[in-house]
């Protein structure tokens, strides 16, 4: 009750502009200020929580491990090691390839499903979305474990194929290799692809589609010229959300990658754990971050070119 009275009082006061209000009004007209004002809670939070870890990471990468201590003289040693030994770059490229394949697979597989929910489902869209997310509430580790059972030697696929008489001995090449990593990750990150695409499809103005149809565009043309370009923000978002985190993953490769499926994340984890060389681990991470950022920028630049050309 009291709150409501206050609100209406504030409303009555509104027309009488005080000095504060006038300053506020001036600031409101200035776009960057308004933008940064709106951004400030998020920025302050991220700065507080992220600045220190980031500073630690970068500084560490210029130190050197000395048994259990750090040699705190500034040096490029770790970066020299990084480029001298072929294993780091080799693994990084391999990781980018694996994540690229995962991203492509997840986005391609998710798009039609997202399209269906956005355009064909009339009611209960929320229920469909939940239906797609529920499997991901069973714990990632259990899902990876489940994949081992499905792909394994006596797994669902092998047993099924043997029963059907397609093969007589279990296929061994479907688990414990990079392909298994791609399959498992593509499954694990499905929700991360479908949700952003759905969100961007959902906002497309239906009258645009009707207009295209009125102009005699075929369904494929109208998809290519209207729907696809308009859903690009969603495709880009989901590509980034899948690509960036999977490049650094080390749990999935560890569990299903077998002897040949390890990725750059495994090296970083090992340097921070088993090998106990945090500075080199930090340098490796910094280089991965740098490289991933490059790939992402190239991807964004490329999609921008495509979008501009289409538009």
């Amino acid at each position: 009750m009291a709150e409501r009275a206050e609100v209406s009082a504030a409303r009555l006061e509104a027309p009488r502009l005080g000095l504060v209000d006038r300053i506020r009004a001036a600031a409101m007209r200035h776009e960057p200020i308004r933008g940064y004002a709106l951004l400030s809670p998020t920025m302050v939070w991220m700065l507080v929580a992220l600045a220190v870890p980031l500073a630690i990471l970068v500084t560490l990468s210029f130190w050197t491990q000395n048994y259990l201590d750090f040699d705190r003289t500034f040096s490029f040693n770790n970066y020299i090691v990084y480029f001298e030994k072929p294993i780091y770059l080799k693994l990084l490229i391999k990781s980018v390839k694996i994540s690229g394949a995962v991203t492509l697979a997840t986005v391609l597989l998710a798009y039609p499903a997202a399209y269906f929910i956005a355009f064909k489902v009339k009611k209960n869209k929320l229920m469909w979305l939940i239906l797609i997310t529920v499997p991901f509430w069973t714990s990632y580790l259990l899902r990876v474990f489940a994949w081992k059972v499905v792909l394994g030697f006596n797994g669902v696929i092998n047993s099924g194929l043997i029963t059907l008489g397609v093969i007589d001995a279990p296929l061994e090449f479907i688990l414990y290799n990079p392909t298994a990593v791609v399959i498992t990750l593509a499954h694990a990150w499905a929700a991360f692809a479908i949700l952003p695409i759905y969100v961007s499809l959902e906002k497309i103005d239906r009258s645009l589609l009707e207009a295209a149809a009125d102009l005699g565009e075929g369904p494929i043309m109208s998809f290519l010229r209207v729907t696809l370009p308009l859903s690009m923000p969603g495709i880009i978002a989901s590509s980034l959300l899948v690509f960036i985190p999977t490049t650094g993953d080390y749990v999935t490769p560890n569990l299903v990658g077998g002897p040949t499926g390890i990725m750059i994340g495994n090296i970083v984890a090992s340097l921070f754990g088993k090998a106990n060389n945090w500075p080199l681990g930090a340098a490796t991470a910094v280089m991965s971050m740098f490289f991933i950022t490059l790939v992402v920028c190239a991807f964004l630049w490329f999609t921008k070119q495509v979008r501009e050309r289409v538009a």
């Binding site: 220190v52 630690i56 030994k85 394994g152 006596n154 390890i262 106990n276």
Partner: protein, 372 residues
Amino acid sequence: MEANELMDKMTSGKMTRREFKKALAAVGLGLFAAPLASRRGLAATEDHPVIFTWEGYEDPGMHGSYLSKHGESPNFTFFGDEEEAFAKMRAGFTPDIVMPCSYKVAIWRDAGIIQPIDDSRLSNFGDTIESLKNVPDMVVDGKRYWVCMDWGQTSIIYREDMVDIEEESWGLMWDERYRGRLSMMDSLIDGVMVAAIYGGAKDPFNMTPEEVDRTKELLREQLPLLRYYSSSPTDIQNALASGEVVAAVGWNDAYSALKAEGIPVKFMEPKEGAMTWTCGISLMAEGDASKLDKAYDIIDALISPEAGAWEITEFGYGHANRKAFDLVDDATLADRGLTRNPEDRLNSGIFQEPIGNEPELQNMFEEVKTGA
């Protein structure tokens, strides 16, 4: 006087760790001015000690005497492997008790993570099997840093119905006939050392450069034969149970568990020698001093005969307490590959020691795994 000495040791032991954290903190300090009032990394709300250990040891069967004395169990929190635990503790996590295996104790002591234990305060310590009382490097300058709790062996577990060998040898892990059906442990001590022993290294835990090269060569040779490097007992046991893998390097708990499920497996006694490992308990250097008495109570409970009998029966590991073996019947012991005379088995294998030049070997291992 004794307390004073303890304090001295604690502070000197803390140095590297403190410096280490200080170094890291200094980076952030300019940006993050936080009160340095408390250095504790844990909520101190409960008055029981916090034990940082492997999953499984939290069972009341392992601390019955503590439970009856204090009415409640202590707090447990778990790690997946010791390296993970080490990273977390170096970054500032301070439990009261931690449970490393013997080969990790030296490095943890150097890092200032653990403090000496006064073994005269442990009523069950006297019953420890003699050779386990005297594991090398556990007592430095008259201070004991670790008490032994349990031990077991690392060897090959293989399916009797699927593997055909004339002589038991680590060489099975390099047998072309079983390409794609073998599994090694993803570990220096239980994986790389196997290659070192098979390669004939004189002292596998302190190899010469030539021996390291030989080991690397063997690991490379082995890589295409492996199904995977296992990282947990679950990996090993599931794969052996389904026949996905016919032979795997593992611990004796896997053997007794598989046997109990009726899987025809054998725990190898390789001619080159199986490895014997031993794990135990250490006191954290920066643990809560007010919980020290209770910390001693829990250590005493873990090395009691009753806990030992429970562990032998449930896990299939050997316990450090001699009297534990008296509480277990012959059939149970035999099922777990143990005898009334634990010293026999303990002395038969190659005893695991701290690995010299660990980081270099780890890098070598990672290189092998990438196929480089």
